[in-house]
């Protein structure tokens, strides 16, 4: 090639410090991004990535530290100031307004005044130029997740950004959409716009980024050339120790007996925002892990609710356990029959934050103490009955507690998840159904949890895993199906299916608007 391109530093942040109460989120972080560079920010949950970018975007104020843009010191006191200085941000959970149209959403983030007609024209221009196709007059709640992200990106592009910050953008995309996104980002970078890209997906970082800064416990511990490294090196630097890989026993004696079966399960959605389940057929055998892939918002919540029994079926022979129809049984009855579900939300769904651990145990254990009791006895059934068992769960699962029998919100995320899993598995279920079990959990704990799932299937239990993490699905499942807009695809053996196939199935018909329920 010719002479080395002069690397101009766009943004330089030095000694950034941020505390929340006693918790140190960022400690003396230095980061430097050159013009046209794709710079990844890697770290586990709680490492401080989100905090850092929120400081760069003006949502948070650091205690100390300087930020220089084009060698000029700037105080980024609000997102308006950030935008004026050419910084745009695409949020992980989006910062959109579902009840408003695309154009209104974009108008809100604009600092200059612009006529509505001109705005719509400009949106269409950008949309065509960058192949981020979107209809400006559509209401955002009617868009697919991928489309919503396009709105976020166009919103940033309208301000001609010099630095585009993206927070975990690919967790909600199909493989094809991810490909498209990377094309756009590379194009942006070569046109001179820098990208700061938060991710925990090592493969993506290597494919996309020029440099990667690794954060751990609030400190920046390394800045590496992303093109000349390996995922293993990244992972180990990020965690700080060697990572053991999962031991999956590939050839197993898969029992032929069917544990759980869904036959032509249909369930209409309870309100405009839900997804109707259409004609779901699935079987899972004892000793088998069935992975259900799919992007959030395609019916996973509804499927989970109807499997668990939080919602009952319309008739009893839509779900069979050991060939017995249980469609009308509620969640308590299904637990007693041996079906345990572990929902996605640790707090406020699987546990109550301001209740003690024994009370949280009692949540699902209370029917046990009713056996052989008189009416008065049943009436007086209270959480004290769970004290011993909850102690046992804590001991058996290595749940670290700040005091004996603490409140659930005193436990860390990982420990709470251990308790929740332990509580369900201590009941020795026949079928265990997990939804996003490693979401928001760091690599060490995630590996432990995944190993637990494998062990469960080894012990002969039937396991259903609903997950948005394709890597996880492939690591663990014997059979895989994809949930798209309430439809379940054909169930294929894990050997027979490729990531591309799954990606296509996940993208599905990409939310065909005409047969979708009228979502306002």
């Amino acid at each position: 090639m010719g002479s080395k391109k002069e690397l101009k530093i766009l943004l330089e942040a030095t000694k950034i410090n941020k505390k929340f109460g006693n918790f140190v989120a960022n400690k003396d972080i230095d980061i430097s991004i050159t013009k046209g560079e794709i710079h990844a920010l890697l770290g586990e949950n709680g490492a401080g990535k989100s905090t850092l970018v929120k400081i760069l975007y003006g949502i948070l104020k650091p205690e100390t530290g300087t930020i220089k843009i084009n060698n000029e010191k700037i105080t980024i006191s609000s997102p308006n100031v950030a935008r004026k200085n050419g910084i745009g941000m695409v949020f992980q959970h989006f910062s959109l307004f579902p009840a408003l149209t695309v154009a209104e959403n974009i108008l809100i983030a604009l600092d200059q005044t612009i006529r509505f007609k001109d705005l719509v024209l400009r949106i269409k221009e950008l949309s065509t130029e960058w192949e981020l196709f979107i209809d400006p007059l559509k209401i955002v709640s009617e868009l697919s997740v991928g489309e919503q992200q396009r709105v976020e990106i166009i919103r940033c592009l309208m301000q001609n950004p010099k630095l585009l910050i993206m927070d975990e953008p690919t967790s909600v995309l199909t493989p094809q959409e991810i490909e498209n996104l990377f094309k756009i980002l590379k194009r942006l970078a070569s046109s001179g716009c820098s990208i700061l890209y938060i991710s925990h997906k090592l493969e993506e970082i290597i494919e996309l980024a020029d440099k990667v800064t690794i954060l751990k416990s609030g400190k920046s511990i390394a800045t590496i050339d992303a093109q000349n490294t390996t995922t293993k090196y990244l992972a180990e630097t990020m965690v700080g120790k060697e990572i053991t890989t999962l031991k999956k026993v590939q050839s197993k004696n898969l029992s032929k007996s069917i544990a759980l079966e869904l036959k032509n399960l249909n369930k209409s959605n309870s309100n405009d925002f839900g997804i109707a389940l259409k004609n779901i057929n699935l079987t899972v055998n004892y000793g088998e892990i069935l992975g259900i892939a799919g992007i959030a918002g395609n019916g996973q919540t509804e499927l989970m609710e109807i499997l668990s029994g939080e919602t009952v079926c319309d008739n009893e022979d839509q779900i069979f356990l050991d060939e017995i129809p249980i469609g009308l049984k509620n969640i308590t009855e299904r637990r007693q029959l041996g079906i345990e579900t572990i929902p996605e939300e640790r707090t406020l769904h699987a546990s109550v934050p301001n209740l003690k651990i024994n009370e949280n145990t009692f949540l699902t254990y209370f029917p046990k103490y009713n056996v052989n009791k008189s009416f008065i006895g049943k009436f007086l059934n209270n959480p004290e009955n769970s004290l011993n068992e909850s102690e046992q769960i804590i001991k058996d699962n290595d749940v670290r507690c700040p005091e004996p029998n603490p409140m659930a919100n005193q436990l860390s995320g990982g420990n709470l998840q251990k308790f929740i899993l332990g509580r369900s598995l201590a009941n020795n279920p026949k079928v265990a159904i997990f939804s996003q079990p490693t979401w928001g959990v760091d690599i060490g704990a995630a590996t432990t949890i995944r190993q637990k799932l494998l062990n469960l299937s080894k012990m002969g239990k039937a396991v259903i895993l609903i997950s948005q993490d394709l890597e996880e699905i492939f690591q663990l499942s014997d059979k895989i199906a994809v949930l798209n807009n309430g439809n379940l695809s054909e169930i294929l053996s894990a050997n027979e299916i490729s990531a591309t196939n799954i990606g296509l199935l996940m993208g599905g018909n990409s939310k065909n608007k005409s047969d979708q329920e009228k979502r306002k």
Binding site: I59, F97, P98, A99, L107, D272
Partner: protein, 303 residues
Amino acid sequence: MESLILTIIATSIPLLMAATGELITEKSGVLNLGVEGMMLSGAVGALGAVLWLENPYFGIIAGAMSGLFMACIFSVFTINFMTNQVATGLGLTIFATGLTGLAGAPLVGKTIPSLPKIEIFLLSDIPFIGNILFKQDLVAYLSICIIISITYFLKYSKPGIILRAVGDNHVSAHSVGYPVKKIRWYATCFGGMCAGIGGAYIPLVLTPHWSEGMTAGRGWIALALVVFASWIPWRIIVGALIFGGITIAQLVGQARGWPIPSQILSMMPYLATIIALTIISSRISKNNSVVPASLGKPFFDTQ
């Protein structure tokens, strides 16, 4: 017939004002159960001001100021101190009932001059319609202007869109850089002023003297009206007229000696409110995007 329609319109104006103000408040995500208290404050404030200054137009200003004062108290607690909006709103109504009872005691028995009617040049000469629509008092004209303005404001103006955004997703609004608390303050204060003017209308036009609890639950009906109108401004006009009509119907019934006991007739507006809420709620539960999504949730801004 003409006077009947005029009476219905006059009865519906307080509801119209209070409900319109509350609509804006709720669009920003704040649920204000203190409307009844704010209307009462407006009523007492107007009475006091007019007794003191003799000109009924001061009553309008006083009503707005009283409502504003109450709205500020409410906002400090719910927006700045992040207290539970339902309980705080109830507390405000209880507080206002006590305060106005105290303030109104020396006003008992005194009457004030009513708001004069303003005739609109030429248009008021149209037979029938002219008398109904164009010979109204200032507040009636004001209420229609406000409703037309906020319809345009919410749909087409940037500040209006920002307001809706805050009510839709206050976290996103904060991420984009908007001062959620300040916007909610403005919306709540506007609502309070409207409620105050609505309350002031009662002594200024309907019953020109003080009696304890003279709003008789109109603030609560206004809250129901906002739900009934599905947060759409022009529907508030329809709702207010219907409730005004029902209120008058029971007076007409009493005057004409209908065989139904007067107390049962007096129940009609309240029962009608329950029925209206029931009808609308069963529609809303299928389509909850009309409800401002962050309604009632306190906003905590991370710094």
